[in-house]
Symmetry: C2
Subunit: 340 residues, 2 copies
């Protein structure tokens, strides 16, 4: 009661006074950093408890030159996959005792400004889930010993680690499933201006089909959605002609759901008229109206590894870049059912 009425927050000094020690001791008692006798530690802790003492993170961070903040850069959170990735990242960040700073960007210039702002808060690390950070600004982070990790980004920056879903394996699984289901003419659906991950999936799909003996020149069609997301997929379906490929692989779940609906509007459905495999395994792809066969991205594992990389690099900032490929798993549903 009296506590909730005080104007000024209680400081380490107050605790020190109450415990009858110096503030240095208080600091040690709480950070368990430096030697202190069990008895006084106990005494200090009790005093802190009684006073309701809370460390001022601003002061702590200023002194240690590092806050307990981790910056996360996202874009288009409305997309179900992105929001579930963010959810996992938040979980993981909190689980490890950090606090997330999150910024949504809409373009590359936002990215630079954001990264700079993060450095101003002396963040303990940065996680980039969208955009391709320019070398220059990343170097600023590196020189300030701020670890940066990219998720599903093109892994080509020095001193930056990457965690990516294994797109190549995913594309191969998709190709094989479609081929084994009897498809011989294929389609690849992506939106123009796609992310690196989408492009990699497409290339790997072609490659896998070639290895299966498919004449990719003749037997693979290319669907380019004008825009990303559900609407892009929907329009692509509407604009496609009657000569539909038998097996279609799609860069992500939103495009796939849109495509499915666009086809449905034209009276065509999967798996009757074509097979369709998506990526991401968003909640929506499992719903009764879609039942999309899709490659599951393990967001929990991705988040876990991202944090591990971050903390690892914090210890050893100049180690060479690492890329971790996280396993993806094909979830069989209606749009390309499991055979045999």
């Amino acid at each position: 009661m009296s506590q909730s009425l005080r104007k000024q927050a209680v400081t380490a000094e107050d605790v020190a006074k109450r415990a009858g020690v110096s503030r240095a001791v208080v600091s040690r008692a709480l950070s368990s950093n430096g030697s202190i006798s069990p008895a006084t530690k106990e005494k200090v802790l009790r005093a802190a408890q009684e006073l309701g003492y809370q460390v001022n993170f601003l002061a702590q961070g200023l002194n240690r030159q590092r806050s307990h903040l981790i910056g996360v850069i996202v874009a288009r959170i409305g997309d179900p996959f992105r929001s579930s990735l963010l959810e996992s990242l938040l979980h993981e960040i909190q689980r490890r005792g950090y606090q997330a700073l999150v910024t949504e960007i809409t373009g590359e210039q936002d990215l630079v400004a954001t990264l700079r702002r993060f450095t101003q808060f002396r963040v303990s690390g940065v996680i980039v889930t969208s955009g391709q950070p320019p070398e220059a600004i990343v170097n600023e982070c590196v020189s300030q010993r701020i670890p940066v990790v990219g998720i599903n980004r093109h892994p080509d920056i020095q001193f930056v680690d990457f965690v990516c879903s294994d797109n190549v394996s995913g594309a191969r699984q998709a190709a094989e499933q479609l081929y084994d289901s009897g498809c011989r003419r294929f389609g690849w659906l992506n939106n123009c201006g796609s992310t690196w991950a989408g492009i990699q999936r497409g290339e790997a799909f072609f490659h896998a089909l070639q290895q299966l003996g498919v004449d990719t020149q003749q037997q693979v069609r290319w669907f380019d959605a004008r825009e990303e997301g559900y609407d892009g997929g929907f329009q692509a379906a509407q604009q496609s002609d009657e000569d539909l490929p038998e097996g279609i692989f799609c860069a992500n779940a939103q495009l796939a759901c849109g495509f499915l609906d666009g086809m449905r509007q034209r009276g065509k459905s999967a798996p009757a008229d074509f097979h369709l495999i998506g990526f991401d395994n968003t909640p929506q792809s499992g719903q009764f109206s879609y039942q999309l066969t899709t490659l599951h991205q393990d967001v929990a594992e991705i988040a876990n590894r991202a944090l591990t990389r971050l903390l690892e690099r914090a210890k050893n900032p100049l180690q060479p870049s690492r890329v971790e490929w996280v396993k993806v798993k094909l979830i069989y549903r209606q749009t390309s059912p499991l055979i045999g």
Copy 2:
């Protein structure tokens, strides 16, 4: 180049030296707070520019007793409505020059810990989009002059402002649309353990029906979903008997989509077999496979007002609580089409 190699970040002191002034002047030049001649200001700004100076927000915040951080408390971001609300909040926070601190909670005790952590960062404000913060911890915020605003929360805490969608108006619009479409037997679908907003929508729906002359004792059925979200709605549909009400109102979009799919599985569809109106107008509700008639929550407006309230209360912390009701709009789609 040389800049990116420096170990230590450049400080106001460096800028002062380069510009040939004191650090106090540097501070003024950048904060435009205190008097300074245009000439020196220009000089300082140029020096800062050349050195690539960036204010250390930790130091600034420590001194000003307030960071440029705004804490946001969320839950279950995977839910499309929640993620779009978060997206709008991030936009608004960034637009006003703040940086968002976001924490996902899974229970009320997380809420207390989070709020406390926010105070440790000396946030400029807190936005609660989930959970009901206990009076005690909110008082800690109040006593530290940290403004708190709740979104779609039960507005009953002193010194806390609230921004809520106008659930009562929404429920009335739903009731009238259903009634005007000829429905005379009604249903209300919500999950048990629903949020305050859901409950308020239900109560208002009953009340509106009464005003329309409906015998709510006899003519309104109650559907209780075991769990929240799509799955809850789906199961509720499966468990319902054959005697379906003509017009059903649903607490949110996810439940509604699930219900629609559950019914679809049983061979029933809207608007042929029943009418259905949801809340939220998530992207999914507009998709071809759902086309859900729904009440649109204006998340951009909600976010805007929340920030305005926050900054307003920062100036005048002890003003009485305010509740703002944001207009909701009925979007007519297939599950209860516009008549006439």
